[in-house]
């Protein structure tokens, strides 16, 4: 039967197999670029699937109860009545920040005190060492102290700590509590004490700075949704939040999904980089196959048949590469829970996830197919005339509409993938555009370099330098792919360094010069003078204290919290009515703020006059509040009606007493308040001594030392940075693999030339130098482009995301630059050593 009119698929498969026989190692080299990307995706997907299953399984122990109610307000009799009517068993927890004093080491630390009454948790446990301490501490004057803090302060079980006026024996080390993550513990390490001692500590007078939580256990099954529906109106009125096992499950699942989606996007960059490597390698492969395709076409093969032979090869190898990636990803997944433990509120298993493996394989096949397609479609156009001569054959990238279709498909695929992770059209478009722009910048830099080298070629340089430089733009050069691969890797490393520097600098800036670096909170009115006196004893600069009044917002014009919840068209942040406002009053502005709109009078006009307040301009904009709008505040029981008189621009970066809402004098002077003192302490010793004395004499006063904040932020950045570095490592290693693959593939291209040079009398040293120079030029330009790209990204992040000053730390960048150049030259030379060190004839026989 003559199948000439059909594609004869079995023959295509046979030809693909035959043709691959002499190229298999190279084909696998091509797809090795995507192995790490797929591995990262499979590992992250597996982690996501396991986390999702674990959240379902551990949902109850995440919350520790069937229902939790929480309030930042003082518990009113109405709330107490409602609480007493709910559930079969109840627990109460009061949380607030406070200073803790380690008696043995004489050191202080800001912690989150959790005064707990009842049997909570009803599901899961307070994980402690010794295990019995989780229950036993409730029976005496004992505490559970976070494990990291125990290590930092060299505390042991049996030592004592002082919270407020009461000393507690450390009954155990707290390893974990329901719903707690390592990260949250490092921001404010928790210390549990029995609720019955809270009163004695003297800290419960802090009023609304205390968050009260009630935990309920229902012994018989309850329709929780119906219960919440019934309770919700009352909860709204009383300003109580609620969590059920189901809502906790949803919230946790959503947070974890956000985490895995973010990590998938980071992995996707590695995969894309690998794909660019594949596309570049296949481009070279296709060039080498021109003659074979031309022969097949001469013998009667159709363009489509020739194209399919190579497409089958790439898809099969792509599948095998994805399979290797999936296997590696499954191994890596075993280590991810360890790497991410600080971020996860649950213990994650490392079960085999078939769906993750399936997703990885599908992604690998689709992506290797798409990216291979761009160079492969050229095969359709290879003329049989190439059997006679190659001179009239030209690849025209821009004339083939199918190629454009392929490029559009790639862009659509990138967007679709981002959309599946982010689920937001605009953000996924933005992310795709950023990725494409980054690639275009790198590709553009490579094109510019090749143009510039050719245009301004230094003819007076020595032969070796000229030869090394000329290799950058000669046919079959690797300039574009290497600049993309190395540049992207460099950009990722440099961006991580830069953003870390920007974040730390933002905090360091606040403590520079004569700026304040220590804040004392919760000073009661009667303590004010003594605290100032104590500060002055230490020789600290003190310009009085700032009064702070806690209040809640009831209405903006006619909009209440209830109206806002029901009407989604109102452009106001949902939390505006749910939060506590810490407000001050004064008649003048301070140096960190200035009026941008309206007028600030500073005084109330007589006893019945209008109260004109001033708002932070961003707060006003975000909540669509205009000058002249009315705002009704509830100042711990008393209602105060105000009118928005002005907006202020506030420099929140400075350690000063800045406030969203500023009242004039003559309104809040009689309201319950506490004071804040801001000062500057030059030495760490003085700071430690002040804190010790302050905690001993005024245990309710909370001290925030900027250097401690700096440590905490640095610690958080390190932890977050570790995750990002962990994921970025996939991109960086992929870049290295692309580099190695590109060098090895280009080796086949360069052999002819090097052998000819050797034949003409070039010494090994000369060939070595030419190769080293070529890779040095490539490494240097790629690293420089990546660095500038990262500086651009960091600048934008600093300016628009963190709204802070952009800082340039040259030393780490310089180290990265030198390392990248060295690595490129090293890999280039290692992989080209056969060309340099072995006899020309031996290589020719082997490589032909």
């Amino acid at each position: 039967m003559n199948k000439q009119n059909g594609l004869n698929f079995p023959w295509l498969v046979k030809m693909a197999w035959r043709d691959s026989r002499r190229n298999r190692s190279r084909l696998f080299l091509f797809v090795s670029s995507i192995v790490l990307g797929i591995a990262a995706m499979v590992a992250i997907y597996s982690l996501g699937n396991n986390m999702s299953a674990e959240v379902d399984r551990q949902a109850a122990s995440l919350l520790g109860a069937d229902l939790q109610l929480g309030s930042g307000k003082q518990v009113s009799p109405a709330i107490q009545k409602m609480v007493d009517s709910l559930g079969d068993r109840r627990s109460e927890q009061r949380m607030f920040p406070s200073m803790i004093y380690f008696l043995k080491s004489n050191k202080t630390r800001l912690v989150q005190v959790r005064a707990l009454g009842g049997e909570f948790p009803y599901y899961g446990v307070l994980e402690t060492v010794p295990a019995s301490a989780g229950k036993a501490f409730r029976n005496g004057q004992a505490a559970l102290v976070d494990q990291t803090m125990m290590l930092q302060y060299d505390a042991k079980v049996g030592d004592s700590i002082k919270i407020g006026s009461v000393s507690f024996v450390i009954a155990g080390t707290l390893i974990n509590a329901p719903g707690q993550t390592g990260l949250s513990a490092s921001v404010a390490p928790p210390v549990y004490i029995p609720l019955q001692y809270l009163e004695q500590t003297g800290l419960s007078q802090k009023g609304s700075r205390i968050v009260t939580q009630f935990f309920f256990k229902f012994d018989k099954p309850v329709n929780m949704k119906k219960l919440i529906d019934d309770l919700e109106p009352r909860l709204d009125i009383e300003g109580l939040s609620y969590e059920t096992v189901e809502t906790q499950k949803q919230n946790t699942a959503r947070s974890l999904e956000d985490l895995t989606n973010f990590l998938s996007l980071v992995s996707f960059i590695a995969l894309l980089l690998g794909c660019v490597g594949v596309a570049s390698a296949i481009h070279i492969y296709v060039r080498e196959k021109i003659r074979s395709v031309a022969i097949l076409r001469c013998l009667g093969a159709k363009g489509k048949q020739a194209f399919l032979i190579y497409l089958i090869q790439i898809v099969v190898v792509g599948f095998l590469g994805s399979l290797a990636g999936a296997a590696l990803g499954t191994i890596i997944q075993q280590f991810l829970p360890v790497a991410f433990q600080d971020f996860l509120p649950i213990k994650v298993t490392t079960d085999f996830s078939w769906s993750a493996i399936g997703q990885g394989l599908l992604l690998g096949i689709v992506i290797s197919f798409l990216f291979a397609l761009a160079p492969l479609v050229s095969i359709r156009k290879i003329s049989p005339l190439n059997t006679l001569r190659l001179s009239f054959q030209k690849f025209s990238l821009f004339k083939d509409p199918i190629k454009w279709l392929v490029y559009l498909s790639i862009i659509a695929f990138i967007w679709a993938f981002c959309y599946l992770q982010i689920k937001e059209v605009q953000e996924s478009i933005a992310f795709s555009i950023v990725i494409i722009i980054a690639f275009l910048i790198l590709v553009g830099s490579a094109a510019l370099l090749m143009w510039a080298v050719r245009r301004f070629f230094p003819n007076r340089w020595s032969y070796l330098w000229r030869q090394g430089l000329a290799n950058l733009y000669r046919p079959n050069n690797q300039t574009t792919i290497l600049i993309v691969a190395i540049g992207l890797g460099t950009a990722i490393i440099c961006t991580l360094f830069s953003i870390r520097a920007i974040l730390l600098n933002r905090i360091e800036l606040t403590a520079q010069g004569n700026r304040s670096n220590t804040i004392l909170f919760d000073i009661r009115p009667q303590q004010k003078d003594s605290v100032i006196a104590l500060a002055k004893q230490f020789g600290l600069p003190v310009e009085g204290t700032v009064p702070v009044v806690n209040m809640r917002l009831e209405k903006v014009n006619n909009i209440t919290g209830e109206v806002l919840r029901k009407d989604s068209t109102i452009k106001m942040r949902r939390g505006i009515f749910d939060r506590e406002y810490r407000v001050t009053f004064r008649d003048s502005l301070i140096s960190s703020e200035k009026i941008t709109k309206g007028k600030w009078s500073g005084k109330k006009d007589g006893p019945s006059g209008t109260v004109f307040i001033s708002l932070d301009e961003n707060f006003a904009t975000n909540n669509s509040i205009k000058i002249g709008d009315t705002m009704l505040f509830n100042v711990q029981g008393s209602v105060v009606s105000t009118v928005v008189g002005s907006f202020r621009k506030i420099d929140w970066g400075r350690v000063q007493t800045n406030f969203l809402v500023l009242f004039p004098t003559g309104v809040l002077e009689e309201a319950p308040m506490f004071h804040v003192l801001v000062t500057r302490i030059e030495s760490k010793d003085v700071s430690a001594q002040l804190q010790q004395q302050m905690v001993q004499r005024f245990p309710n006063v909370t001290i925030i030392d900027l250097s401690a904040v700096l440590n905490i932020v640095s610690n958080i950045i390190d932890k977050v940075g570790f995750i990002i570095r962990f994921m970025a490592a996939f991109s960086i290693f992929t870049g290295l693999i692309v580099l190695i693959a590109s060098v090895m593939i280009s080796k086949y291209q360069r052999i002819q030339e090097s052998v000819l040079l050797r034949t003409l009398g070039a010494s090994r040293k000369q060939i070595f130098n030419i190769t080293a120079l070529e890779y040095f030029f490539l490494g240097a330009l790629a690293a420089a482009t990546g660095m500038f790209l990262s500086l651009g990204i960091s600048f934008l992040v600093a300016k628009f995301m963190f709204e802070t000053e952009f800082v340039l730390k040259w030393v780490p960048l310089l180290i990265v630059f030198v390392s990248v150049c060295f690595l490129t030259v090293f890999i280039g030379l290692i992989n080209s050593r056969a060309v340099v060190t072995r006899p020309p004839l031996e290589i020719l026989r082997e490589e032909v």
Partner: protein, 230 residues
């Protein structure tokens, strides 16, 4: 005898560095089925271009090529590929074997492209005829130049072509090997009754064909019968 190839007013022009470069101009001739013919001429005279156009490897700028009564200029590249597979055989100066296929596999490709079954015995038979019965599983890189050209000849004849185009078939071979190859080409050609069109520099070789067309500067300067009955 029937005409198998008819070239009418054929011309080929290329764009080179923004200028038009005429490689062939006003070429006219016909070839009868079963005959042998050589195209000779100095380098750059357009011999290979003419061969490519006559075999349907390229399209002419002017004029027409009719192969076995089929006008090649009216066909697209895939249709011309089908014609080549059905009617044409090729032997090239640089052998043009697929480097990733063994000698036997190289020979089978034209019939495999047709989707024919049980072709291995035919390929083995041809391999024996060219004297390489024991080298079927060797790759081109493992064969000498002469052996590669023999494989190429076996491949050219496997689809029983009506017309065989050869481009300097001995150009890459030594004199002794060349003699053997030429003898084999003419023997196989005679046995199969194929029309042979040979591009060559070698006048001695050209004289073994029945007719010689001389090209110069892209034009036919002479078209003479040699009196040889090969």
């Amino acid at each position: 005898m029937a005409t198998i190839l008819k070239i009418d007013n054929l011309g080929k022009t290329y764009q080179s560095a923004g200028r038009e470069l005429t490689v062939l101009e006003n070429i006219n001739f016909s070839v009868e089925a079963g005959s042998t013919m050589a195209i000779v001429g100095p380098s750059g005279s357009g011999k290979t271009t003419l061969l490519g156009l006559a075999a349907g490897l390229d399209r002419s700028t002017t004029g027409s090529v009719e192969l076995n009564n089929i006008k090649l200029d009216q066909l697209n590249e895939d249709q011309r590929a089908s014609i080549r597979n059905q009617h044409v055989g090729f032997i090239f100066q640089s052998f043009q074997l697929l480097p990733t296929l063994t000698a036997l596999e190289n020979i089978m490709v034209p019939l495999e492209l047709r989707g024919e079954k049980h072709i291995k015995p035919k390929a083995v038979d041809l391999l024996n005829k060219v004297g390489l019965g024991n080298r079927g599983h060797h790759y081109p890189a493992q064969l000498s130049g002469g052996e590669q050209q023999r494989v190429s000849m076996a491949r050219a004849f496997i689809n029983k072509p009506q017309i065989l185009f050869t481009d300097e078939p001995t150009g890459n071979l030594d004199a002794e090997t060349s003699r053997g190859i030429i003898e084999l080409i003419f023997n196989l050609n005679k046995e199969a009754g194929t029309t042979l069109i040979m591009v060559t520099h070698d006048l001695e070789l050209a004289n073994k064909t029945g007719r010689i067309i001389k090209l110069k500067g892209g034009r036919i300067v002479s078209d003479e019968a040699t009196g040889t009955n090969n």
